[in-house]
């Protein structure tokens, strides 16, 4: 445990020591909040520019490169633009709800960061049921989205909000079901405990991360898919599909309120990505023994950035789904597969006591085989085999 690993905690202790002991808990909490907001606010700004540049490169374009060196000051220019833009509230809008919606979206998402372990001993609130808190808080964003769509008094907003509700509620089921095996494996709901349960190395070199088990790998894929839908990322960004709905529930928002929605969307993605790192990629643990000199928060950051890049990559690749495809995908593919995964996880856990010679190989073969068979079978069912000509009732 080196000094670099502890740098944030020691800075926090030194700053908190400057004030009288009676207000120290309050001050240290405020400092943590300020730190989280600073780090993830910067992360948001950087992600917007890097996402645009990456998308550009994936489409053989340059991406933004005009403001500052390599266009790196673009988020600054965007921020200034957002701040000084006129804030228009529609005449017939429900003014109070219209104002509250962006706030109601951003606040719970900031709260979700409080239970994530960003490094060794770096959890803001060590809740015993941290993951439960995370999902409970995360589902509050649905309310904010519907507030935005309802209060705007605009058909596009309302349709966008309805889609968002249908999508977020549907995808919350596979999201939670995919993370249940991890809770079984760790026998805990506390996120630091889940990270601790993934420490150590199997066979001397393979880290005991959940992703290196059959149920963990499938759960990771399911979790990422559901996470993309949960945070309205491409290819599941139907609620704001600009080709059909202008901007969905964001249609009547402008200026700083729009920026808040944008911020909330990215922060939601960050939070759920941080949870994916914690649940499946061993949190802040180093991938090998000899790499442990690198600070734990650095490992978290690296895994986090890799997953964010994966989301950007998927966005550059996949087209948007149709609404019925989206819901069918959740209920007829992801949820059954997550249930199968749960069975595999329990079987894996129960068969841990097997003692014969090649027990690990047999367990792997059984688990991965069951998952692969159900994946292929469910995938065929989802595709519907043959495509049939679509019947339009009203468009004739």
């Amino acid at each position: 445990m080196n000094a670099l690993d502890h740098v944030f905690i020691s800075v926090l202790h030194k700053l908190a020591a400057l004030v009288p002991a009676s207000v120290q808990p309050l001050v240290s909490m405020l400092l943590i909040i300020a730190g989280l907001m600073a780090v993830f606010g910067t992360c948001f700004a950087l992600t917007t520019i890097l996402e645009r540049k990456t998308l550009g490169r994936m489409q053989n374009r340059f991406g933004p490169n005009r403001v500052g060196p390599f266009g790196l000051f673009q988020p600054l220019a965007d921020g200034v633009k957002m701040l000084i833009k006129e804030d228009i509230v529609p005449f017939s809008a429900d003014k109070v709800v219209h104002f509250l919606a962006p706030v109601a979206l951003t606040v719970p998402i900031w709260l979700a960061f409080s239970v994530l372990p960003f490094g060794r001993n770096m959890t803001a609130i060590e809740l015993d049921s941290g993951i439960l808190f995370f999902f409970a808080i995360g589902s509050a964003s649905e309310l904010a989205v519907f507030m935005a769509g309802w209060s705007s008094q605009n058909k596009y907003s309302l349709v966008g909000a309805m889609r968002a509700i249908a999508q977020m509620i549907s995808y919350e089921v596979p999201l939670v079901l995919a993370s249940v095996p991890v809770l079984i494996a760790a026998s805990s709901l506390s996120l630091p405990d889940i990270v601790q349960a993934q420490s150590g190395f199997a066979l001397g070199f393979v880290p005991r991360w959940n992703v290196f088990t059959p149920w963990g790998l499938a759960g990771f894929a399911l979790f990422l898919t559901a996470a993309a839908a949960e945070s309205n990322r491409c290819p599941f960004d139907l609620p704001e599909g600009e080709s059909e709905l202008i901007a969905g529930y964001l249609t009547e928002y402008s200026g700083f309120k729009y920026a808040l929605f944008f911020l909330g969307e990215y922060l939601g993605l960050f939070a759920v990505t941080g949870l994916a790192v914690t649940l499946f990629l061993g949190g802040w643990q180093a991938p090998a023994k000899w790499l442990e000199w690198f600070p734990s928060w650095g490992w978290f950051g690296l895994k986090f950035s890799a997953l964010i890049f994966l989301f950007i990559w998927a966005r550059a690749t996949l087209p948007r789904l149709r609404l019925d495809q989206l819901l069918t995908f959740a209920w007829k593919f992801l949820v059954p597969l997550a249930l199968v995964n749960l069975v595999v996880a329990v079987a894996w856990w129960q068969s841990g006591a097997w003692q014969f010679a090649s027990a690990l190989e047999v367990r792997w073969l059984l688990g991965a085989g069951l998952l692969a068979v159900s994946y292929v079978w469910l995938g065929r069912g989802w595709n519907g085999g043959k495509s049939t000509l679509r019947q339009y009732s009203y468009a004739e």
């Binding site: 990456t54 490169r57 994936m58 489409q59 053989n60 374009r61 340059f62 490169n65 990559w313 998927a314 550059a316 690749t317 996949l318 593919f333 994946y375 292929v376 995938g379 065929r380 989802w382 595709n383």
Partner: protein
């Protein structure tokens, strides 16, 4: 199997991502203010007036016939005839424009003026950086006059044809001039 298309797509975009860094030929964007595409001969933006010789105003081919003014669909040309006639390249006495204005904010670059001009005077230019910081979009004849050398440079084919035709006309006119006085002394 479900997911094969997704993997293939991811490989394609990943290849683009890596390729665009080590192979600049993939990036088709022309970064405009720093680099520009080579100009095209058939590009046309706004009209200009061709002049011969060294003095732009004295050498204007325009005879203020106002055909272009009448034909212009956008009515962006304003011509005021001069009161005195001056000899043109054939020696004929012709009017010249006192005022020749084109409102380039209104001009739509259709090229009809250049098509109808019987004197090969008005031609289409290819300048395009015409943005102004104020509404000074009316070009006067001093702004519009450009030399025949410039015309040859931007439209080599058309300019060469015009030059040949004009030289032919000039030769005919001189031959006629030379032919008219010749029978006069023979009459008596």
């Amino acid at each position: 199997m479900l997911g094969r298309g997704i993997i293939r797509g991811l490989i394609e975009t990943g290849r683009n991502f890596c390729g665009s860094y080590h192979d600049p030929a993939r990036l088709t964007t022309v970064q405009y203010p720093e680099e520009k595409l080579p100009p095209q001969e058939n590009a046309r933006t706004i009209p200009f007036l061709v002049y011969d010789g060294a003095d732009p105003l004295a050498g204007l081919r325009c005879t203020a016939c106002t055909i272009c003014e009448q034909e212009c669909p956008a009515h962006c040309i304003l011509i005021v005839k001069d009161t005195v006639k001056k000899p043109d390249y054939l020696g004929k006495m012709q009017f010249h424009p006192k005022v020749f204005d084109i409102d380039i904010a209104v001009c739509m670059g259709c090229g009809i003026c250049a098509e109808v001009c019987p004197f090969d005077s008005i031609k289409m230019d290819r300048v395009f950086e015409l943005a102004r910081d104020r509404r000074a979009m009316v070009f006067h004849k001093t702004d519009l006059a450009k030399s025949n050398e410039y015309f040859r440079e931007i439209h080599p084919g058309e300019a060469a044809a015009v030059d040949v035709a004009r030289a032919e006309e000039q030769r005919k006119a001189q031959a006629k001039k030379a032919a008219i006085p010749a029978p006069a002394p023979a009459a008596p």
